[in-house]
C-alpha cells in the first residue's frame, strides 16, 4: 500500500496544535461535562423551554418598542457626538491643510507639536473598546442611555477622526494646496478645495458606522447603558426565555432595517 507523502508534516502540525491547546483547555476550565450534568441539564432545559412561545403580550411589546427606539436614539445621538468630536480633530491632524508646511515661516514646529497629541488622543479614544467606555461611563453618569451615548461618541469619534483625515489625504489635495499657497485661510481651503472631493466617501463611511453603532448600542446595554440590550439582560436574569427570544428577533430585524436604511442613504448620496 502506498504511503501518503504529506502524512508526516500533517501529523507534526496536528500534534503541535494539540500540545499548545492542552494548557488552553486547562485555563478555560473546559468541562463539557457541566453541560450534561443531570441537575444542570434540567435547569438549562427549563430555561431553553421557555424560549418558545415568544412573549407577545401587549405590555411587553410596548416595552420592546420603547427600548428599540431608545437603542436607535442612542446610536444616532452617539454618532452626532462622534461627528462633533471627529470633524474638528480630523481637520487638525490633516497634514495637507497645514499652512506652515508650505514653506519656511513661523508655526512649523508648533503645528507638529499640536498634531501629535491630537493623533494620540484619537488613538486612545478608539483603542479602548466601546463596551469598556460604557462600563466606565455607567459608573460616572449612572445607568441609562447617557452612558451609551458618551461611549459611542468617544469610540466612534476616535475612529471617524482617523478615517476622515485619511480620506482627506487620499483624495486629490492639489486644489487645497493651491488655495493655501495663494493665501487662503484653512477653513476656506478646506470647504472649497477638500470637502467637495471627499464628501461622498465621508458620508458613506459615516452611514456605515451608524449601522455599526446600532449593533454596538444593543451590546452596550448588557453593562447597563440602556436600550434593547439592557432589557434583554434583565429578561435573562429573570429567566424568561420567551422575552429574550422576542427581543433577539427584534434585534435581528433592527439590524436588517438599519442595513436597508444605510443602503438607501448611500444611494441618495451617490
Amino acid at each position: 500500500m502506498a504511503r501518503d507523502p504529506a502524512a508526516l508534516p500533517r501529523f507534526v502540525l496536528t500534534a503541535l496544535i494539540v500540545v499548545l491547546l492542552i494548557p488552553g483547555f486547562k485555563l478555560t476550565e473546559f468541562e463539557p461535562g457541566v453541560l450534561f450534568d443531570t441537575r444542570n441539564r434540567e435547569t438549562i432545559g427549563r430555561f431553553l423551554g421557555t424560549f418558545f412561545p415568544l412573549a407577545l403580550s401587549a405590555d411587553f411589546l410596548q416595552l420592546v418598542i420603547k427600548s428599540t427606539i431608545e437603542t436607535l436614539a442612542i446610536a444616532t445621538a452617539g454618532m452626532a457626538l462622534a461627528l462633533a468630536i471627529a470633524a474638528p480633530l480630523s481637520l487638525l491632524v490633516t497634514r495637507s491643510l497645514s499652512i506652515s508646511r508650505i514653506g519656511p515661516g513661523p508655526g512649523l514646529w508648533s503645528g507638529r507639536v499640536l498634531r501629535t497629541p491630537v493623533r494620540l488622543a484619537l488613538m486612545l479614544c478608539r483603542s479602548v473598546p466601546e463596551i469598556v467606555w460604557a462600563l466606565l461611563f455607567v459608573r460616572a453618569v449612572g445607568l441609562g442611555p447617557t452612558a451609551g451615548v458618551l461611549a459611542i461618541g468617544i469610540t466612534y469619534g476616535g475612529m471617524l477622526g482617523k478615517v476622515y483625515a485619511e480620506i482627506f489625504e487620499s483624495g486629490d489635495t492639489r486644489p487645497t494646496v493651491a488655495l493655501l499657497e495663494s493665501g487662503s485661510g484653512h477653513l476656506p481651503a478646506f470647504l472649497y478645495g477638500m470637502l467637495p472631493v471627499a464628501l461622498p466617501e465621508i458620508v458613506s463611511y459615516s452611514v456605515y458606522r451608524w449601522e455599526c453603532a446600532i449593533r454596538a448600542s444593543v451590546i452596550m446595554g448588557f453593562v447597563g447603558a440602556g436600550g434593547l440590550g439592557m432589557q434583554m439582560e434583565l429578561s435573562m436574569r429573570m429567566l424568561s426565555g420567551g422575552e429574550v427570544s422576542t427581543m433577539l428577533l427584534v434585534f435581528l430585524l433592527l439590524v436588517m432595517l438599519a442595513d436597508g436604511i444605510s443602503a438607501a442613504l448611500r444611494r441618495v448620496i451617490e
Binding site: 491547546l21 473546559f30 468541562e31 444542570n40 444616532t76 469598556v132 462600563l135 442611555p145 451590546i219 435573562m236
Partner: protein
Amino acid sequence: MNARHWIALVLMCAAVIGSFTYLAIDVRALFSVEAAAQMWNYFARFFPPDFSADYLAQAWRGTLETIAISGVGTVLAAACGMLIALPACGRFGPVARIVSRFVLNFLRSIPELVWAALMVFAVGLGPFAGTLALALHTTGVIGRLFAETLENAPPEPALALQLAGAHPAAAFFYGTLPNVIAQFVAYTLYRWEINIRMAAILGVVGAGGLGQMLYMSLSLFQQAQAMTIILAMLLLVVIVDAASAALRARME
C-alpha cells in the same frame, strides 16, 4: 446639492435632535464646567495604575486566560464549522443544505456577547462560558466561509478519484481538502485575531478573562487596578495587531 440631498440632510438633523430629545439628555448640563470637573475627578482616580508585582501577576494570568479562551473557542469553531460546512455546501442534498445554512445563519447573527450572557446562565461564571460563546458565534462565521470555499473548490480531483473507485471520504480527503486547506487555515487565523479582541471584553458579562477582572475591579471601586487591566487589554491588542501585520507581510 439637489433636492434629495437637502431632504436627506434635514431628515438626519431631525433624527439627531429627536434622539437627544427622546433620551432626555440635557446637553448643556452634560457639557457644563461642573460635569467636566466631576468627570475629571472620576477619571483621576484611575491613576496611577496598580503596578504592584502581585497584581501584575494576576493581570498576566488574565491575559493568558483571554488568549486561551480565544484559542480554544476558535479551534472548536473551526472543527464544528468544518462539520457543518459539509452539508452546507450541498454535499448531502438540498434539505441538509438548507437546514445547515439556517443553523449557520442563526449562530452568526447572534452577537458573541449575547451568546456569552446566555452561556453564563448555562454553565456558570468563568472562562468556559466565554469559550463556548466564541465557539458558537465563530462556528456560524467560519462555517459559512468554509462552505463557500468548498463550493468554489475545483470538483475534478475528487471526481477523478471517485471514478477510479475511491471511497467518497478518501476522495474528499485527497481530492478536495488539499485544495482548500490553506484557505481554511487563513480564515481560522483571521477569526482568531478577531476573537482575541472579543475574548478580552466578553468577561464584562462574567465570561472570564481580562473583561471579568475589569468588571470585578470596577464593581469593587478599585480604579487603579481597573486601569491596569485596561492597559493590559490595550497592550494585548497592540501586540496582536503587530504580530498579524508582520505575519501578513511575510506571507505576501
